[in-house]
Structure formats: C-alpha cells, structure tokens
Symmetry: C2
Subunit: 497 residues, 2 copies
C-alpha cells in the first residue's frame, strides 16, 4: 500500500505546481484501490492527477481575461470571457450555448445521458470583482502567478478557479469513460459581482431547460485550513428604514425643550429595545417560527475549531456579545439577529448644538433563520416600532428587500453523497456548516427552480476574496477537481425523489 | 379726566411716529395725575411723551451704524458704535468711558448720587446679528424705516432699541429733576451676538466698579401682544457627547451579526431610555434637586393665554409631548429636559447597507431648573449611560459646558417694584414668566457680581429677532422708555440688603 501511494505521489507530483511540497490526492488513490467497484473512478482520478499542469495552464488563460462585470468599459472582455467558457464547456464534452441578456451573457452547457439518472445543475459565475486598489497587488491582478503553492489572480477563488474544477472533472469523465454517471447542466453567469438582475429572468424563462434534481455551487469556502466543509444553511434577511418626523424644522432646545416629542429621542427609544441586554431580539413574535439547531447540529458546531481570541482579533473587538444560551459560532450563523446598520438625525458636526432635531432615520436589517417569513418579520418589526411612536411624530417605514433563509437537510441523501465525494478528495469528512449571510442565487434556484443547492467550497476564507492578492491554493484547486469528479459518481447513487 | 387724557393724547401724538393711530401712554398719565405723591415722576413722563420723535430720531442714528460683531470687516463700525453709545451716555448725564478689550470695546457709564440709595446696573449690547439674507429685507437693514407703527432695522429690538430706552429715561430724569432717584451704572458690551468672551473678564476685573444691588436687562420680550412680562427664571443647561466604539471596522452584518455588540444598537439602547414614555427623564437621581413650581407660580402659568393649536402651528408639529402632570408652558420653561440633539453612526446613504457599524455618537443636552447642579447632572448622565454599555463596546463621554438655572424670587421687593413700573407704563401688571433657554450674561452677573437680574423685555417674540425685517413697535419703544423712567423711582423704594 505504501509503495503504491509513494509511486502515485511521485508520478503525480509536479514541482512547478506543488512547490510547497505538500502532497495531493493520497486519499482518493487509497480509496479507489481498496474498493474495486469503483473501477470507473480510478482512471478519472489518474487522468486528473496526470494533468494538473494542463488544468492550471487553462485556468490561467481564464484568469487572464479581465471580466469585470461592474465596469461597462470591460464589456468586450466580458463577451470574450463568455466565449472562453463556452469553448471550455465544449472541450469538456458539453453542448454549450451563449445566451445574450440585456446585461452580460449567460453560458449554458449540458450533457444529458439518461433521463433515469439524476440531473445535476452546476452554477458558477465568470465575472470578477474590480481589482482596485491595484497598488496593493504583489503581481498584477490579471497576470496569474504561482507563489508558495498558491495561484494569485483576480477570480482565482471567486469564482473562476472553483467553477473550473467542475468543467475539468466533467472533461475527465468524458475522456476516460466516454460518459458521466449523471446528467449535468452547467450554468455560468456574468453578473454575480455587480448585482445583476438578468439571471432570475433567465431562470424564470428557462425552467424546462434547467430542470434538475439538485444544484451544485462552488462559491463558498472550507471551514479552515484542511477542514473541508459543506455549507448547508444560509441566513435570510430583511432590510428596512424607519423615518421619524417631528417639528417642521429644528427647534431651539431651550425655548421648546419639554413641549414636544424629539424625533431622535423617540427613534432611540423605539430602536433601543429591539435587542435586549441579554442579546435577544425583543420584537414580539420574532422567535415564533425560529427553527432551533438540532442537538446533532449543535454537537457538530461544538466540535468546530474556534478560538474566541483569534475571532476577536479578526473583528477588532474586545468581547463577544449576543443571545444567551448559544455559542458565538451558532449566533453568527444559525440564530436570527436585528442590527441597526445606520442612524442619523439632528446635528452631527463638532461640538454641541442646542436643537430639537426635526427628523431622524435608522436603517435596520434582521438576519433570518429557517422557517422565518420575511414578510411576517417586517410586519412584526414595523408594528413594534410603530407601537412606541409618541404623539406628534410622523412614522414612516420603508421596506427594502427580504429573502428567506436556506437550509439543506443534513440527513438528505444528496448531502450525504456529496460528503462522501468531499471526504474522498480531501482525506477527511467535511464539516457541515451554516453561513450567516445569504447567497441570492441559492434562493433563486430554490424559489424559481425548486432546487436545493449543495454548497461545496474548495477555497478558504483567507484567499482574499474581493481583496488584493486574491488567490487559490493549488492543492485546493486540484482536490476540488477530484472531489467534483467523485461527486458525479456519488450523486449517481442517490435515489431520485 | 377724559378731557385731560384727550388733551394729553393730542399733545403727545406724533402722526409720523404713531401712524397706526394707536395711542400711547394713557396709563402713566392717568396714574400720575391721580397720585400727587409722584410729583417728581409726572414731569419726567411729560418730558418723554413730548420728545418721542427726538428719541426715535436718535435711535435711528444708533441703528444706522452696522455694528456687526461677528464680522471682523466691521471693526471700524463697532468702534464708531461704541463711541456713539458713549456720547449718548454723556448726553444722558452719565460719566461714560470706553474700555477697550481684546475683542470689541465695552462702554460703561455711571451716575452715582448717594451711596445710601440703591444702585442699579443696567446691561445691554450695542452689537447686532449679521443682516443676511439681505434680499429678504423689505427695506435695507441699516436704513431704519417706520411702517405701520413699527421701526424696521437690524438691532431695532435686539438690543439697541430696548437698551436705548434706559438711556432716554435717565436723560429725562436728569434733565427734568437734575438727578435720578437711584444710582445707575450702565454697561453696554459689543460681543453678545458673536459669543464673545471678554465680558466675563471685564466683570471679573471690575467688581468694585460694577458693584450694585440689582441688575436690569432689557433683552427679552413681552409675553404676547399687550401682555407685558418680567422673566423671572431661565433654565440652565449641560451638554455632552457620548461616543461608542465597537469593532475596529464596519463588519458584514451577515457574517458577523449576532457575534458581537453593535455600537448603534448599544447607543440607541442607552439613549432610548433617557426619557420614558411618560415624558419623564429616567436618569436615576435626575429630579432629586428639582425645585418644583410653587402653587402660586402654577396659578400664574394657568392664567397665561396659550392655545395649543397656535403653538403647534408655530413649531409645525401635530401634538405636544412631555412630562405628565405639567402643562406645555410649564414643561418648556420650568421643568428639566433631556434631548438628544444629534445622533450618527454607520451607513447614512440611500438604501440599505448590511453592516455592523464600527462607531456611533450622540449629542445630548439637558435643560436644568433651579437647584440642579450641572456637574451632578453630568455625573448622573454619564453613569447612567455607562451602566448600560455592553461588553465589547468602548465608552467615551465628552463634557461640553454647563450652567445653572437662574431664578428671581417672585416675591422679592425688587421684582415687585419692577412690576409696578411696568404696570404703570403698560397699563396692566406684567405676568411673571420663565424662559426655557439660558442667557449667559444673567449667569455671569450672578456668578461674578452676585447680582440678580430683572429681565424686563419691552419687545415681542414676533419682532423678527435675528431674522430679516427685524423691528420694534414704536408703541413698545415708547412705553419701554416710560417703564424705565418709572423703574428708577420704584427701585428707589426697595430696602437694600
């Protein structure tokens, strides 16, 4: 066994790529040698192991295209990038098409083998964040460079590097076995980083085309270095603004103080009780529909490595604070919140000014957990605030947007199958985590296409997403590709529901 | 009687001045004719009645000097104005001197008759507010014009017109009787409208010169049209700023929400309970030293004409609000307050932004009533806010300034005497009122010289103080002069000590 491993490692080692000296793909080789029923799998992995440099070279081509969706000056490069994706899909064995939109094009490819097999819809985005500030990049953002086992470039991890693993694994399956064990549909958009609105329209108008059993998105991260993760929950959100209007103009606080309601006093009064001293949100009914974490999930949370000290250093704070009875990790990912994001009213210059302000405004967001209804939460929030509005103050409540939380049942066959694929490639089972934020496309896939999404992140939180020196670890890129290759096999075993 | 009155009226009528047709000085003439013991008084009033046009012409000279203290370009005019005041004092029979300061000059004049008589210190200011916006003036700010019984010019009521009444009444006494019934000292400064600091220094360094029994300031207003008033109370004030600092930078409210304290949430929580839903300030100990209005004062308040509807129209609000158990007038003048004058933190632009802000700031002032100690109130405020500061938030409390409330015992002989003088000139007894704001000079006179101030306002709230088309009613200017003339006589009767 050892000999085989060593041979395999030597054979696959690529000094230029893996110059960190870290070895890749021990586990898969080990596993597929032990389990002869996986005869189709091993050659695919061999193929991928042997072609790491090629994959890397191709990824570098992809990364060299400055597909900055937010900047209209890069429209030609966006089109060039979409074309590159289409060609890459074709090379992987997919039937690929570019769908123009009123914004940036969507690239869609598919390889449908057998309607009786599961169909997987892969989502990714080929657009990237603007690279500014340019002077903080060690090497230019669109000139990929490998340093210390990492590939540096804008989009290396978000999302070109991660989505490309799926194209490479599909290609390997097709080239080695002539087919995939599942039907695959791949949807790569170009407006994720610029808040584009055309994807939802495309989903709505191509429901049949995109029909599938499950979705796969690789746009999240591992939990930490060497701790692969599947994100099985995302919080939802509602956002609103409350505007109070008192006297028609700022008044002298000496002449009028005590006679009429002060809108800033009133606003602090109504907002100040949104969260209690115990960290619990005090809006009546707020917790009515909250799905608490199960004991199994909490046990999983408790096992995750987390040190308060390094967390506090990360946020630059001296203490954690939040709802009693829940750990910091649980609170930031699986408990609902109510945060005032901004507040303003009256005099904001230097020194004092003796006025009763005419107006005051606060911006509020609540993070939602599964089963909480955004409309209901906004209703509760509005009613609670309004109930505390004193006489003489005009109350206005503006609703911005809202989306539900997302959760993938941790016991689902799809998730268990994906876990096996990740375990195979990463050498250990993934932890199941939830994220505190929301990912709009996951909601769209759920709401428009009815699909649950497997959030399989190969990269790391520390990969400088959206920042200078964005990178992906070569090791992560390669084992992500292997995990993707295993994923098709594992998902093929899931009974369709 | 009627004949005498008519005769007197005819004699005193001055069509150019009193073009509104309203008649002045019925009451004084009536009174002094009835009471022969006031033989010294009637000739003074006759003198003033006969010389209304002269007084008006002189006031117009005074008003033509653009003594804008805030604008250094008007330094020559400030000096010219100080010289004008000095000359006017001399003409009135005072020994007058100009005291240069590091800012604008102070003019001081005195006429000391007999150390056994009461000594009255009159304060006024010869500087005026800038006249901007110029285009809103019907006639130029420094070209006095009479229209409909009112004299329009910057400074007409604040304070040239009001202070000049005292110089004219002194002149009348001296010219008619050769002496005044009291010792008078007159202090006219030039930095009231620009927040100057030199008056206090002058008071501190001229305590002997300014020694007196009582001070008189005519820089307030009547309660309303035809309702003369003596202001016998002013609220004090403390001002502070509370600054909270949470994480070292704004954080993503999805990724971090629930894990650490949000400074805006914390600030609204601590500020939101400063004033309760019942309008009472909830800072522990806040009311400990509050001197409640006496039943007599409340009875007086209850008699003052006040209509909620017109008050609400004035402030542009739909309802009054404040401490239960006290009327609106009482609350705005004789009850303590706690107002947030400004608040800011986090995102203040358009739409939502999903952050946990790093910082939040609020500016707070409390209005104080008699017996409340500014330092104690600031201590209470700081302790109360700090006690609610959650873990992970840095608390900073910045104190700006503070001054005590001022109150003149309504039963004092000085006040009763002044009331008689006002009643004589205005034809009805003045109402005793308190003002909600503070007048710094009143505090300085009290703290530095130990003097209580008789706040005798001849003008009206509606005279456009600090605004375009500032004016004084000719009627008010004249009866103010008569009231001042009576004042010397009445104050002479007050036992010293």
């Amino acid at each position: 066994m050892t000999a085989v491993l060593q041979f395999d490692v030597r054979k696959n080692r690529c000094p230029r790529v893996c110059d960190s000296g870290r070895l890749v793909c021990y586990a898969p080789v080990f596993r597929w040698l032990l389990f002869p029923q996986d005869v189709q799998m091993q050659p695919v992995l061999d193929f991928l192991n042997a072609r790491q440099q090629t994959a890397l070279d191709e990824l570098c081509q992809f990364l060299r295209i400055p597909s900055i969706s937010a900047d209209s000056a890069y429209k030609p490069q966006m089109n060039e990038c979409a074309e590159w994706v289409r060609a890459s899909m074709t090379a992987a064995g997919l039937t690929a098409t570019i769908y123009p939109t009123d914004g940036h094009p969507i690239v869609y490819g598919e390889r449908l083998r057998d309607p009786s097999l599961p169909t997987v819809l892969v989502y990714g985005h080929y657009d990237v964040q603007p690279p500014d500030p340019l002077n903080l990049w060690t090497s230019p953002a669109f000139e990929p460079q490998v340093r210390e086992g990492k590939l540096f470039a804008r989009g290396a991890t978000d999302d070109k590097g991660q989505l490309f693993t799926h194209l490479k694994s599909i290609e390997a399956w097709v080239k080695v076995n002539g087919e995939l064990p599942v039907n695959v549909k791949v949807l790569i958009e170009g407006e994720e980083e610029c808040g584009g609105v055309h994807l939802d329209h495309f989903l709505e108008t191509h429901r049949d085309l995109l029909k599938a059993d499950v979705a796969v998105v690789s746009d999240t991260s591992q939990y930490g270095d060497g701790i692969p993760a599947i994100t099985c929950g995302l919080r939802g959100i509602v956002a609103a603004e409350v505007r109070l209007k008192g006297p028609s103009k700022d008044l002298h606080s000496g002449i009028y103080g005590g006679s009429i309601a002060n809108p800033v006093n009133a606003l602090t009064r109504m907002c100040g009780t949104l969260v209690g001293a115990d960290g619990r949100v005090q809006i009546p009914g707020f917790y009515d529909d909250v799905d608490d974490l199960t004991p199994a999930e909490r046990a999983q949370y408790a096992k995750l490595p987390f040190t308060e000290a390094s967390f506090l250093k990360e946020v630059g704070s001296s203490a954690t604070f939040g709802e009693a009875g829940w750990s910091t990790l649980e609170r930031r990912t699986a408990r609902p919140t109510c945060d005032i994001n901004g507040i303003f009213g009256g005099y904001t210059g230097e020194g004092p000014k003796t006025i009763i302000p005419s107006k005051a405004t606060a911006k509020i967001t609540c993070r939602l957990v599964p089963r909480m209804n955004p409309h209901k939460v906004l209703d509760q929030l509005e009613a609670y605030l309004k109930s505390q509005c004193p006489a003489g103050i005009e109350f206005e409540f503006k609703r911005f947007h809202g989306c539900e939380a997302f959760v993938f049942d941790p016991t689902s066959d799809w998730l268990v199958a994906a876990g096996r694929a990740v375990e195979t490639a990463f050498g250990q089972p993934p932890v199941l985590v939830r994220e505190g934020g929301s990912i709009p496309v996951v909601l769209s896939l759920k709401q428009i296409l009815g699909l649950n999404t497997l959030l399989l992140g190969w990269g790391r939180n520390t990969d400088n997403l959206h920042s200078p020196d964005e990178h992906i670890h070569l090791q992560d890129f390669h084992r992500g590709t292997l995990a993707s290759a295993c994923l098709w096999k594992e998902l093929a075993t899931v009974p369709r529901g």
